[in-house]
């Protein structure tokens, strides 16, 4: 039977890898992306996610030259997100060696929902991934999950179940739930969020944000199989001083 996927997630800023906390502007230098991809290839990771944290904000296209060099050094399936605004961007990335192309829900809103169908038409639904930045708000004492949309001028919050219902109409491969509040916090994966998202979709789910340890990831991967569990800090830092040491579950 198909196995759960355990996925290191890397953040690109310019031509280097960084780590953020809650996706704030404060970043920690992690290393060179090509070197990191070589190391994760040696570690035989199930998949690798790579997100450029600046391209959409700056209205720029993906750095195809750098991404091509990264893909050449990858021996695992690759997913990329950041600055994709058209099907031709996605086609370029597939040609470079990326199996899955992720566009954020904010990116979808920037363009229009029709971009999802354009991507499905050109690269096939099996390669289309939508990433949702999820935050929490408290209303009448209840925690509600909201999908955050932001651009230079405004920030809006959409009901998570409503967004999942819209996405259910499209034959995409996967939804990545990016738990913004827990990103970089190492406080554990929110299984309530995971379960709510799983109920609302027919495609695959990957949850990103909050993972504490290899054992937590392994346990959830088994409990919710088949699922994708992505993490950055856990596979990037080690020890109480959080020294950079790329690692993976054996």
């Amino acid at each position: 039977m198909v196995r759960s996927r355990i996925i290191p997630s890397l953040l690109l800023k310019g031509e280097i890898l960084v780590k953020t906390v809650n996706f704030s502007d404060r970043t920690i230098y992690v290393g060179d992306p090509i070197n990191a991809v070589r190391i994760f290839s040696e570690l035989k990771v199930d998949e690798l996610c790579l997100f450029d944290i600046q391209k959409r904000k700056q209205g720029l296209s993906p750095n195809f030259s750098l991404l091509g060099k990264i893909a050449k050094n990858a021996r695992m399936p690759l997913c990329y997100g950041g600055g994709i605004r058209s099907a031709s961007d996605a086609i370029n990335l597939v040609n470079l060696g990326f199996e899955k192309i992720s566009i954020s829900y904010s990116g979808v809103q920037d363009c229009s929902v029709s971009i999802i169908n354009d991507l499905i038409d050109k690269i096939g639904g099996q390669s289309v991934v939508i990433t949702l930045d999820v935050v929490r708000i408290i209303e009448n004492g209840y925690t509600l999950y909201k999908v955050r949309y932001n651009n230079k001028n405004k920030m809006e919050l959409y009901d998570l179940d409503g967004v999942l219902l819209i996405l259910k109409q499209h034959a995409i491969a996967e939804i990545i739930i990016n738990d913004v509040d827990r990103e970089g916090g190492n406080i554990g994966i929110d299984t309530e969020l995971l379960e709510q998202a799983l109920k609302g979709i027919d495609c695959h789910l990957t949850i990103l944000g909050g993972a504490q340890s290899h054992s937590e990831i392994a346990s959830l991967a088994q409990k919710y199989s088949p699922i994708g569990i992505a993490a950055a800090s856990v596979f990037t830092f080690t020890g109480k001083h959080r020294a950079v040491l790329l690692n993976y579950i054996k």
Binding site: M1, R3, R75
Partner: protein
Amino acid sequence: MIGIIDYNFGNVSALCSTLNELDLNYKIISEPNDMENISHIIMPGVGSFDNVIQNLVSSGLSAYLCQRKDLKVLGICIGMHILGDRSEEGIMPGLGILPGTVVKLENKLRTPHLGWNSVKLPITSKLFQNVDLDDGFYFLHNYMFLSENKGNDIAFTNYGQTIVSAVSDGRIYGVQFHPEKSGVNGKTLIKNFSEL
């Protein structure tokens, strides 16, 4: 020499990296004139059915590949689907050099079939020599190949239903998974194909 078909689409780059690691000579093929000294062809595997076929038709490779009866062919995922007669994914006819049709996955599990899965091999096949079948391969697909001649099916994978994960009809081979992204197993399979 191995030729990798470039239909302006599909992860040609990943296949090149694998062939480089194996120290195998290869050439990227965009049109029939590129085919000199080519004995083995690999059809890469990301894309949608009609887009891939349209590109092969306009480059002249569609007609050429149907005429050449001596080439060893390995189709990967969509590269396997287009070898068949037709697909539920598109409206254009396939190349028709591997008898069969392509249908949408129909099961109660989440689609697509995504991730690492094991492979079962009822009979031995040179293509899978020294492959760890339990470790398996990386799959990513919404559609699957149904052979007209069930005797052509050489490997199977379970995902809520039985999926034919490899077919072989003489010199024509197709695999549903992505060997170029399947680590050691994938490299072994590509090497085995090069030695057929």
